[in-house]
Symmetry: C2
Subunit: 149 residues, 2 copies
């Protein structure tokens, strides 16, 4: 996919991550786009806000999109490499593409997804890296809780 388009979509996920940070939460955001580019759902990690450990950003965006008959041609955009839980979501529901802000601070299941035919667009976005790095340094316990480490 076009890098400019990927960066434009990433902006929505970054805005979600910033909103989560402002709420005192884990700063990871995501957005799900339809095959024609329509924004189907957006969300951010809500572990702290809702006391919900399942509310990873990708799951929040997927949930916000509601019931869909198929995910063929959809794109999940996320500020951070998806963990195994969110990678499993992508594989199970046949989401076609994942746009990732960065995989420096956390390396999840995106290689596994690529091996199973999912298109991976890794952007190495400096803002995403800086936001996660600052968060991990300021609240390592919360971060480790969020990834079950």
């Amino acid at each position: 996919m076009d890098q400019a388009q990927a960066r434009e979509w990433l902006a929505t996920a970054v805005a979600e991550a910033r909103a989560g940070l402002a709420e005192g939460g884990v700063p990871i955001g995501a957005a799900l786009h339809g095959p024609d580019g329509t924004l189907l759902g957006r969300g951010h990690n809500r572990r702290v806000q809702d006391g919900d450990p399942s509310a990873h950003a990708e799951t929040a965006a997927f949930r916000a999109a509601g019931r869909q008959r198929t995910y063929r041609g959809t794109t999940m955009v996320t500020t951070l490499s998806p963990c195994w839980y969110c990678s499993g979501l992508v594989r199970q529901f046949g989401i076609s593409r994942v746009v990732i802000g960065e995989a420096d601070t956390f390396h999840g299941g995106h290689d596994w997804l690529a091996a199973h035919g999912v298109e991976i667009v890794l952007l190495d976005d400096p803002e995403c890296v800086a936001m996660m790095r600052a968060f991990i340094e300021s609240d390592p316990e919360l971060w480790h809780e969020d990834i079950g480490a």
Copy 2:
């Protein structure tokens, strides 16, 4: 683990699945137990009831258990072999064991979990098989939607 114990725990998941069926939903139930056997959370698929495609039974039970510092020693009990999404949940959070009612009507990611060190207890429970088989026959469209097929 002891088979009698596994079957006793499965009863909770089956009760959840039945409750989901009575609500017009997908009849899959789950329960998360702590290392000492304490029931931490229970739930069932709520795709239809909440319009929430992320509410697979295992995720519902995990969510109901709230925030936990660690999942070491915990057991996820589910009426059906966990899909990739729920298998990813188990792997990411380090849930130690999965008790499965049946894997005849759907074969998810439990072999992958076993390969990654998760203890798998597959019970081949006839009631679980019968419940899923009847559901798949009566509402194949809903079932396919639930697994992204």
